[in-house]
C-alpha cells in the first residue's frame, strides 16, 4: 500500500483504527459517559467505511444506511444518558465498576 494516491484501503485502515480505539475506550475506561463516547466512535468508524464503499461502488444506498445509523445512534444516546441520570440519582455514581449488581 503506497501513500499516494489515497484509495479505498486507506479509508478502511482509518476506519479500523478508529473502531479499535472505540473498543479500547469501552474496555479500558470506567466512566459510563466516556463509554458512551466510545460507542459513538465505533459507530462513526463503521459509517466511514460504509461511505467509502459507497464511493467505491458508486452506489448511493450506503448514504441512506449511514443516515439511518445516525438516527439509531442519536436514539441510543438519548435513552442511554437518561438511564445514566436515573442511575446517578439512585446510586450517586457513574463508575461502571461500582454498578455491578446485574453482573454475574
Amino acid at each position: 500500500m503506497t501513500f499516494f494516491p489515497v484509495g479505498l484501503s486507506h479509508y478502511l485502515c482509518l476506519s479500523g483504527v478508529l473502531f479499535t480505539i472505540g473498543v479500547l475506550v469501552v474496555i479500558l475506561r470506567r466512566n459510563l459517559i466516556v463509554i458512551f463516547m466510545g460507542i459513538e466512535l465505533m459507530l462513526n468508524a463503521a459509517n466511514l467505511s460504509i461511505v467509502a464503499f459507497s464511493r467505491h461502488l458508486e452506489d448511493m444506498s450506503g448514504h441512506v444506511f449511514v443516515l439511518l445509523i445516525m438516527t439509531v445512534a442519536a436514539a441510543e444516546v438519548a435513552v442511554g444518558l437518561a438511564i445514566l441520570i436515573a442511575l446517578f440519582r439512585t446510586r450517586r455514581t457513574i463508575n461502571a465498576d461500582e454498578v455491578s449488581y446485574l453482573r454475574w
Binding site: 489515497v6 482509518l14 479500558l28 461511505v51 438519548a78 444518558l81 437518561a82 450517586r92 457513574i94
Partner: protein
C-alpha cells in the same frame, strides 16, 4: 501539480485529527475534555465525508453528531457535575489488559488484508449528482421508505423512554398512560401486586389522567 494531490493531503490531515481526537477520548480523565475531543474526531470524519463527495451525509454528520449528540453529552456532564471522588479511580485489572490485547490483535489480523491497494473510483469518478440532497432524498423516500418510516417509530419510543427514565421519581404517582391506568386497576382489584406494595401505593394512586 499541487491541486492533484491536495485531496490526498487533506485526507491525511483529517485522518490524523480524527485519530488524535479518538486517542484523546481514550486517555483524558476529565469527561468534558473527552467531549471536546469527540467533537474534533466527529468533525474530521465529517470532512472526510466531503472528500468522499458525500455532501449531504457530511452535513448531517455535523448537525446530528457535533450539534446534537455531543451537546447532549455535555449537557449530562454539566447536569451531573461530578466531583473527583464520584469519577472514581480506574483500576488496571488482568481482564482489562486481556481485552485491550484482544482488540489490538483483531486490528493486527485485519492489517494484512488492507495491504493491497484498491482504487477508490475504478471507473473514473462519480457523476455530478452523486452525494447531493436530491439523490439521497430520492432513495430515502423511494426505495428505502419503509426503514425511514420505521425510524420515526424508533425515535418516538426513544423520546418516551427518555422522558420516563429521566423523571425524578421512577414510580408513577399519577396516571400517565393507559398502562398505568390498567396497573392501577389491577392494583385496586388486588391482582398482580403483593399486599405490601398495595399498601404503599394506596396514597398516590388516585390522580387524574394527563
Amino acid at each position: 501539480m499541487i491541486f492533484a494531490v491536495l485531496p490526498d493531503i487533506l485526507f491525511y490531515l483529517f485522518a490524523l485529527l480524527a485519530v488524535g481526537g479518538a486517542l484523546s477520548v481514550l486517555t483524558r480523565r476529565n469527561p468534558m475534555t473527552c467531549a471536546a475531543s469527540l467533537v474534533v474526531s466527529v468533525l474530521s470524519v465529517a470532512l472526510l465525508y466531503f472528500l468522499l463527495s458525500a455532501h449531504f451525509v457530511g452535513v448531517a454528520q455535523m448537525i446530528v453528531y457535533a450539534g446534537a449528540i455531543v451537546v447532549l453529552f455535555i449537557f449530562v456532564i454539566m447536569l451531573l457535575n461530578l466531583t473527583d471522588r464520584e469519577l472514581g479511580r480506574g483500576r488496571m485489572t488482568l481482564f482489562k489488559i486481556f481485552g485491550a490485547f484482544l482488540a489490538l490483535s483483531v486490528l493486527a489480523i485485519l492489517a494484512p488484508g488492507m495491504r493491497s491497494m484498491v482504487e477508490l473510483e475504478p471507473s473514473g469518478g462519480p457523476g455530478p449528482a452523486y452525494g447531493g440532497t436530491a439523490e439521497v432524498g430520492r432513495l430515502l423516500f423511494g426505495e428505502y421508505l419503509l426503514p425511514f418510516e420505521l425510524t420515526s417509530i424508533l425515535i418516538l419510543a426513544a423520546m418516551v423512554a427518555g422522558v420516563v427514565l429521566a423523571k425524578r421519581d421512577l414510580t408513577p404517582k399519577r396516571l400517565f398512560s393507559l398502562i398505568d391506568w390498567l396497573l392501577a386497576l389491577a392494583d385496586r382489584l388486588s391482582i398482580l401486586r403483593s399486599p405490601q406494595k398495595r399498601e404503599r401505593k394506596q396514597g398516590g394512586a388516585g390522580g387524574e389522567a394527563e
